[in-house]
C-alpha cells in the first residue's frame, strides 16, 4: 500500500482527489498573491507615468550589482527547489534534503544581501519618513519611488522569510522520511510558493534597479 493512504483525509475519496484539491488550492492562493503584490506594481506604474525622471534618478541610487546578484541567487534557489521535488518524486531522500537546505540558504543569502542594501540606503539618507536627505528638483517625488521600493521589498522579504521557514520545515520532514514517491504534497506546495516569491522578484528587479541606467 502506498504512503499516501495514511495521509488521506476523510473528506476526500482518494489520494488523487486530495492532491488535485491541494494543488488547485495552492494555485488559487498564488493567484491572490499576484493580485496582492500587483497593487504595488500598479501604484508603481501610475506614479512612474507621472514622474518618469524622478523614478529614473531614484533608481540610479539603488545598488544594481547587489540587485542583480540577489536575482541570480533567487533564480538558482528556484532551480534547487524544483530539483528537490524531483528528487523526492524519484524516490530520493538525502539529496532532496540537501537541496531544500541549499534553497533555504540561498533565501537567507538573499535577505542578507538585501539587508546590506537597506543599511547603505539608511546611510545615504534614502528612507522617506525615517532618514531622507536628498536634495534637488526631484527630491520630493523621488520619495514616491522609495516608498514603493521599501513597501515592495518589505512585503517580498516577509514572504521570503516565511518561505525559508517552510523550506526548513520541509527539509526536516524529508530527512525524517515523511515523503515518498506517492505522497509529497506539502513539499510540492511549498515549492510552488517559493517559485511565486521568485516570480515577484523577477518583476521587481528591472523596475527598481534598471531604470535610467543608460544615462
Amino acid at each position: 500500500m502506498n504512503a499516501s493512504a495514511g495521509h488521506l483525509r476523510e473528506q476526500f475519496d482518494d489520494s488523487v482527489q486530495q492532491r488535485e484539491a491541494s494543488t488547485l488550492g495552492m494555485w488559487t492562493f498564488l493567484a491572490t498573491e499576484v493580485l496582492f503584490f500587483g497593487v504595488l506594481f500598479a501604484g508603481y506604474a501610475f506614479c512612474r507615468v507621472i514622474f518618469p525622471d524622478a523614478f529614473a534618478e531614484a533608481s540610479r541610487h539603488t545598488d544594481m550589482l547587489l540587485g542583480t546578484l540577489e536575482t541570480a541567487v533567487l533564480l538558482s534557489s528556484s532551480c534547487a527547489a524544483a530539483l528537490a521535488v524531483r528528487e523526492v518524486q524519484l524516490g530520493g531522500r538525502r539529496v532532496a534534503t540537501w537541496l531544500l537546505l541549499i534553497t533555504a540558504a540561498l533565501g537567507i543569502a538573499f535577505l542578507a544581501m538585501h539587508g546590506l542594501e537597506y543599511v547603505a540606503e539608511y546611510r545615504e539618507g534614502l528612507i522617506p519618513g525615517i532618514r531622507y536627505t536628498q536634495h534637488g528638483p526631484h527630491a520630493a517625488s523621488m520619495q514616491l519611488f522609495f516608498c514603493l521600493y521599501y513597501f515592495i521589498t518589505g512585503f517580498h522579504g516577509l514572504h521570503v522569510s516565511i518561505g525559508v521557514g517552510l523550506l526548513l520545515a520541509m527539509a526536516w520532514r524529508t530527512h525524517r522520511g515523511a515523503f515518498d514517491q506517492d505522497y509529497h504534497t506539502p513539499l510540492e506546495l511549498t515549492a510552488l510558493y517559493w517559485h511565486l516569491v521568485d516570480i515577484v522578484w523577477i518583476f521587481v528587479y528591472p523596475l527598481i534597479y534598471l531604470v535610467g541606467r543608460a544615462a
Partner: protein, 532 residues
C-alpha cells in the same frame, strides 16, 4: 434520489462542550459559528444606524456632534459591509449547504474553514477595539488624504481589522472554488448544479480576485499613517485618485459578493415555493458568471466627479449599463418561473418576492446613477444611499432571511412559527420601503449624504424614514425571537418539510456529521419537480 438515509446521530449531537464547537472542522458547525457572530455584528451595525436615524429626525444636529455623527455612519458602514453582508450568505448558508448540495462529506479544506472563522473573529476584535477606543470618522470608504494624513481617529485599528477579515473572505472563497471543482458527487456535472452552488462559485471567484487588492490598499493606508509618508501623499505628487482606483477595484465587485449569493438563494426559494424548474437555467448560469466578471469592469462609476478622465467616465458608464442586462435576465426568469404557477406564500416565498421587487427597484436606480449626466447631480446625495440600501437591505438581507427560514428545518431540525414569520416578512417589507423610499426623493431634492444636519425642507421625509427604521428594527427582532424560540419549542422537522428537490433534502434534519451515508449518484439536473 429522494430516499432518506437511515437515521444516524446528527451533527449537533457530536459533542456538546465549547471545545467541540470552537475546535470543530465540520462545515455545518462552522456555519453556525458564523451565523452567531454575524448576527451580533448585524445588531451592532443596526444600533449605529438607529442612532444615525435618530439624529436625522430633526434638521439641527442636536443629538450628537458632527464628529460623532461621522464616526457613527462610518461604523455602520464598516460593520455592515465587512462583518455582516460580505460573510452573511456565503459563510453561513454557503458553508452549511455547499457540501450537501454537491454530495460531498465536507469542504475541501475543513481546518482552513475554521481558520477563516477565527480570522473573522480576530478582525472583529480589532474593529470593536476601534469603536471602544474612539471610533473612526473617515467613512467606510477611507478616502485619502483624509484617512492617511488628517483624520485624528482610530484609522489604524479599523484598517488592521478589515485587513484580517479580508483574509477570512479570501480563504472562504478559495475553499469554495476547490470544493466545487474537485468534490462534486458522481454524475453532478457543472450544468446539473443548483443555482445556489453556481452563485457560491461566482462569489468565491470575486472574493479571491478582489479582496487581495483591498488588503494591500488597506496596508498602504496603514503604512502611510505609520511613517507619515506614502504614495497617496499629494505633497510628494501622490494621486488621491490612485487610492480610489484601488479601493473601488475591490469595493465594486464587493457589492456583487453581497448580491450574487442572494440571487442564488432566491432561485432556490422560488423553485421550491412554486414547485417548478427554474425558467432558463443556462441563462441564469451565464448571468451569474457574467455579473461576476463584468462587475470588475465598472468601478469607475464611483468616481465620475472625482477628477477621473471624462473618457474613462464614458467607458465605465457604458459598462455599468451593460451589467444591468444579466441582472434583468435573472429578474425576467424568476418572473417567468412564477408565471401561472401555484404559489404558496410561506415566509421564504414572501422574502423571495420581496427580493425580486426591491432588487429590481434598486437596480433600476443604479442605471440612473450610471448615467454620468444624472450622476453629477445625484452623487453623494441620499439617492445613492437609497439605491444601495434597496439592493443590500431590500435585496441581500431579505434573501438571507428567506434562506435562513427555508433551510432552518434542515439546519436545526425544528420548524419555526409560520404565522410569526409571515407577519415579520410583511412588516419588514413595509418598514423597509417606508425607511428608504423617501430617501430617493430626498436625494433628487438635493439632500447630501453624510451630513448630520440638513435644511428644514427635508424634515418631513426624514421623519418618515426614521419612523420606517423603527418598524424595520422591530421586524428584525421578531425573527431573532421566534427562531430562537423554535430551537427549544418548535416541532421537529422531517427530512424534507418543503418537499423540495435537492441533495440537501435527502439527508435527515439535522444531517449527520458526514452528511451522506453513501456518496450519492446524481442522475439528473436540479429542480426536477413534476410540473413543467
Amino acid at each position: 434520489m429522494n430516499t432518506v438515509e437511515p437515521a444516524a446521530r446528527s451533527y449537533l449531537e457530536e459533542g456538546y462542550g465549547l471545545r467541540s464547537w470552537l475546535g470543530t472542522s465540520d462545515h455545518k458547525r462552522i456555519a453556525i459559528l458564523y451565523a452567531v457572530a454575524i448576527t451580533f455584528f448585524f445588531f451592532l451595525g443596526g444600533l449605529a444606524a438607529a442612532l444615525v436615524r435618530l439624529e436625522l429626525v430633526t434638521p439641527a444636529g442636536d443629538v450628537m456632534s458632527a464628529e460623532t455623527y461621522n464616526k457613527m455612519f462610518t461604523f455602520h458602514g464598516v460593520v455592515m459591509v465587512w462583518f455582516f453582508l460580505i460573510p452573511s450568505i456565503p459563510a453561513t448558508l454557503g458553508n452549511f449547504l455547499l457540501p450537501l448540495m454537491i454530495g460531498a462529506r465536507d469542504m475541501a479544506f475543513p481546518r482552513l474553514n475554521l481558520f477563516s472563522w477565527y480570522l473573522y473573529i480576530g478582525g472583529g476584535i480589532f474593529t470593536l477595539a476601534c469603536l471602544l477606543l474612539g471610533g473612526v470618522d473617515t467613512g467606510w470608504t477611507f478616502y485619502t488624504p483624509f484617512s492617511t494624513m488628517f483624520s485624528n481617529s482610530r484609522v489604524m485599528l479599523v484598517v488592521v481589522g478589515v485587513f484580517v477579515v479580508g483574509f477570512s473572505s479570501i480563504f472562504t472563497g478559495l475553499n469554495f472554488i476547490v470544493t466545487i471543482h474537485t468534490m462534486r458527487a458522481p454524475g453532478m456535472t457543472w450544468f446539473r448544479l443548483p443555482l445556489f452552488v453556481w452563485s457560491m462559485y461566482a462569489v468565491a471567484l470575486v472574493m479571491v480576485l478582489a479582496t487581495p487588492v483591498l488588503a494591500m490598499t488597506l496596508a498602504l493606508i496603514g503604512l502611510e499613517r505609520l511613517f507619515g509618508v506614502g504614495i497617496f501623499d499629494p505633497a510628494l505628487g501622490g494621486d488621491p485618485l490612485l487610492f480610489q482606483h484601488f479601493f473601488w477595484f475591490y469595493s465594486h465587485p464587493a457589492v456583487y459578493i453581497m448580491v450574487l449569493p442572494a440571487m442564488g438563494v432566491v432561485s432556490e426559494l422560488i423553485t421550491a415555493g412554486v414547485r417548478r424548474r427554474i425558467f432558463g437555467y443556462r441563462f441564469m448560469v451565464y448571468a451569474i458568471v457574467g455579473i461576476a466578471v463584468v462587475g470588475f469592469l465598472v468601478w469607475g462609476h464611483h468616481m465620475f466627479v472625482s477628477g477621473q478622465s471624462m473618457y474613462a467616465g464614458i467607458v465605465f458608464s457604458i459598462l455599468s449599463f451593460l451589467i444591468a442586462v444579466p441582472s434583468a435576465i435573472k429578474v425576467f426568469n424568476w418572473t417567468a418561473t412564477l408565471y401561472k404557477g401555484d404559489i404558496t406564500f410561506d415566509a421564504p416565498m414572501l422574502y423571495a418576492l420581496g427580493f425580486v421587487g426591491l432588487f429590481m427597484l434598486g437596480g433600476l436606480t443604479g442605471l440612473f446613477l450610471a448615467a454620468t449626466a444624472l450622476d453629477v447631480s445625484l452623487t453623494d446625495t441620499y439617492f445613492v444611499v437609497a439605491h444601495f440600501h434597496y439592493i443590500m437591505v431590500g435585496g441581500s438581507v431579505m434573501a438571507y432571511l428567506g434562506g435562513i427560514h427555508f433551510w432552518w428545518p434542515k439546519i436545526t431540525g425544528r420548524l419555526y412559527s409560520e404565522a410569526w414569520a409571515r407577519f415579520a416578512a410583511i412588516l419588514m417589507f413595509f418598514g423597509f420601503n417606508l425607511t428608504f423610499f423617501p430617501q430617493y426623493i430626498l436625494g433628487w431634492e438635493g439632500m447630501p449624504r453624510r451630513y448630520h444636519e440638513y435644511l428644514p425642507q427635508y424634515q418631513v421625509l426624514n421623519v418618515l424614514s426614521s419612523a420606517g427604521a423603527t418598524i424595520l428594527a422591530v421586524s428584525y427582532l421578531l425573527p431573532l425571537g421566534y427562531l430562537l424560540w423554535s430551537l427549544r419549542h418548535g416541532a421537529r422537522a422531517g427530512a424534507n418539510p418543503w418537499r423540495a428537490q435537492g441533495l440537501e433534502w435527502t439527508t435527515p434534519s439535522p444531517p449527520p456529521l458526514h452528511n451522506f451515508a453513501r456518496t450519492p449518484q446524481v442522475d439528473g439536473g436540479p429542480y426536477a419537480y413534476e410540473q413543467p
